[in-house]
């Protein structure tokens, strides 16, 4: 019987998705509650005092950013915790001893992160409808940027899981990298409102392109050319994917 990488991929992906659904109170519910609180506090309570941004209410402005913020954190944390958990329990050895290629392994785990983050994103979007009316201008941009962001940050989570040696290591990236990138990525403000030097610094933050492109899907306007945002996200995702496959081929962090 010829070996089928598709079956191996589907096995890993199914296992990951089953895990997400089995423990939905830990994987889906908490981010939805957190983002709802953002809507209540920044959208409803403070938003009315801030005024309009780019011709729309502050509540409408932050909706895309909050959705993408949920996508980022859930994509990352799902893959980082699941992969590190498998490493910690040594159950990852079940896959490592099998003829699973690096790309199959990466795709399987990242599928879990993408599914969870997009599920959370959809739920957060539905909740946002209680606070602001739906406004979608470019569906393709919403799908493209949410998907690329989910894949990119799932892979960041994978990278973290690969190098983590203890549970503390899994929380370092969210605390010191993801949170600053998210808050400085334009979730709560427009990058064009930043002082000159900070606008330049912000251009090195991939989330700026992701949020800006995603927001473009809702509002139809962007502070960065949409093609540049789309290409940047694609190139970064591809580069990270290839880097991870190379690291996995060498079994970095997985072999003694």
């Amino acid at each position: 019987m010829a070996y089928s990488p598709t079956i191996a991929y589907l096995t890993i992906a199914r296992k990951e998705i089953n895990r997400i659904l089995r423990i939905w109170t830990q994987t889906l519910l908490p981010p939805v509650i957190t983002q709802s609180l953002y809507f209540v506090i920044f959208g409803a309570f403070l938003g009315s005092r801030i005024g309009d941004i780019g011709g729309q209410s502050y509540a409408s402005f932050i909706v895309p950013g909050l959705i993408l913020m949920a996508v980022v954190t859930n994509a990352f944390s799902n893959v980082a915790s699941s992969f590190f958990g498998a490493k910690f329990q040594r159950s990852i050895e079940e896959i490592l001893v099998a003829p699973v290629s690096p790309s199959t392994l990466l795709a399987g785990f990242c599928t879990g992160g993408v599914v969870r983050s997009l599920l959370v994103g959809i739920i957060v979007f539905l909740i946002s409808l209680f606070f602001v009316p739906a406004s979608i201008t470019h569906v393709w941009a919403i799908i493209y940027f949410s998907l690329m962001t989910a894949i990119f940050f799932s892979m960041i989570g994978f990278l973290n899981g690969m190098f983590a040696r203890k549970f503390d290591d899994v929380s370092i990236i969210p605390t010191f990298v993801l949170t600053p990138l998210t808050y400085l990525g334009g979730v709560f403000y427009e990058i064009s409102h930043l002082p000159g030097i900070w606008q330049t610094v912000a251009r090195f933050n991939p989330l700026v392109y992701a949020i800006d492109g995603f927001r473009y899907g809702f509002t139809g306007s962007a502070s960065t050319p949409i093609a540049l945002s789309a290409i940047t996200m694609f190139v970064l995702t591809l580069a990270l994917g290839l880097t991870l496959i190379t690291l996995l081929r060498k079994r970095v962090g997985l072999q003694s």
């Binding site: 019987m1 010829a2 070996y3 089928s4 990488p5 079956i7 191996a8 589907l10 096995t11 890993i12 296992k15 895990r19 498998a86 329990q89 040594r90 159950s91 050895e93 079940e94 896959i95 490592l96 001893v97 099998a98 003829p99 699973v100 290629s101 079994r251 997985l254 072999q255 003694s256």
Partner: protein
């Protein structure tokens, strides 16, 4: 353990896979030679980052269809070697082929031939028994319907069918060990690596496991077994590789090693007085227990007869150590 294993099916599958593999090979002497070896190891070296020199250039072959014991004291390098074969440990240098496939050049293809039962439990404690096996088959590209069928056969064969819906963490130690054996076999590997499979299991279970391993071997599976139970190695294996501090110190058929025994010791009990020394080099261990050392060629029956003629009644008698153990102590300790 029951006897419902699908032996004939497995033999057919193995043979078919083997024939398919041979058909894929270019017709040259080199490939034919490799096909006879399930595994070839050439100058395998492993130095850990800590400085430990776990393997010092070891070389040996495993014949296809053989059952070989890999013996050595703790730290001899057995588990490191198993780790290298399964891709969990990075070798420092050397070359390995698995069923003729270079492990470095085509790691995925080479790993497809191998099933491994590791020393430590390494399945997810959050998964159910049945799911662990079905998923493992999936990693090897086995379709879900076939995986379910094989899972049922293996779980029944290994007495775990009743536990198929139980979480793995709720199983007893012996059940976990059997689960790992089932998991290693679910993709019907040509080569099975067993790293101390009977560690921590009771005598009855161990005997049952031996029967199962014999059956798998009879179906054509090449088996490499590491164990600390020398009795197990002597009972099951036809070939032995002994390691000491990262080096192979003996590599020979069991029968050949046993022929080398220059003496064999027996322990017996008697209520009658005896004199130390004599042709059987008797030594008193306590009031009623004696030890006799028989040179090669002297049968234990002869000793019992001689003692009987001296009106010494032996209550019970047993070998002091397993025969292979005596060779092992001499060679690898």
């Amino acid at each position: 353990m029951g006897t419902r294993v699908t032996a004939s099916n497995s033999i057919r599958t193995y043979r078919k896979a083997h024939e398919e593999y041979l058909a894929e090979q270019p017709p040259c002497t080199h490939s034919i030679q490799h096909a006879m070896h399930a595994i070839t190891l050439k100058n395998i070296e492993k130095k850990y980052a800590t400085g430990t020199h776990a393997l010092k250039g070891i070389s040996f072959n495993l014949e296809a269809g053989s059952m070989t014991a890999l013996l050595g004291a703790n730290g001899a390098g057995k588990t490191t070697l198993i780790g290298i074969l399964t891709g969990l440990v990075r070798k420092t240098s050397g070359q390995i082929t698995v069923s003729g496939v270079d492990l470095d050049a085509e790691p995925e293809r080479a790993r497809a031939f191998i099933g491994v039962v590791p020393q430590e439990f390494n399945f997810s404690i959050f998964e159910k028994v049945e799911d662990i096996l079905i998923d493992q088959a999936g990693y090897y590209g086995v379709t879900r319907s076939i995986a379910k069928e094989r899972t049922e056969n293996l779980l029944k064969e290994l007495g775990l069918w009743e536990k198929r819906h139980a979480y793995s963490r709720t199983l007893s130690g012996g059940m976990k060990r059997r689960l790992m054996i089932a998991r290693a076999l679910v993709h019907e590997p040509r080569i099975l690596l067993l790293d101390e499979p009977s560690a921590g299991v009771d005598v009855e279970l161990r005997r049952g496991m031996w029967e199962f391993i014999r059956k798998i071997h009879a179906q054509g599976t090449t088996i490499l077994l590491t164990t600390h139970y020398l009795e197990e190695a002597e009972e099951l294996c036809e070939h032995v590789v002994m390691m000491r501090q990262g080096e192979v110190v003996r590599n020979a058929p069991v029968q050949e090693l046993l022929k080398e025994l220059t003496a064999q010791s027996f322990v017996f009990t008697t209520n009658q007085p005896l004199k130390e020394g004599g042709p059987y080099r008797l030594k008193q261990k306590n009031a009623t227990t004696w030890e006799a050392s028989l040179s090669a060629g002297t049968s234990v029956t002869k000793m019992i007869q001689d003692l009987s003629e001296q009106h010494v009644m032996i209550n019970d008698i047993r070998p002091k150590a397993n025969r292979l153990e005596e060779v092992f102590i001499e060679a690898a300790m």
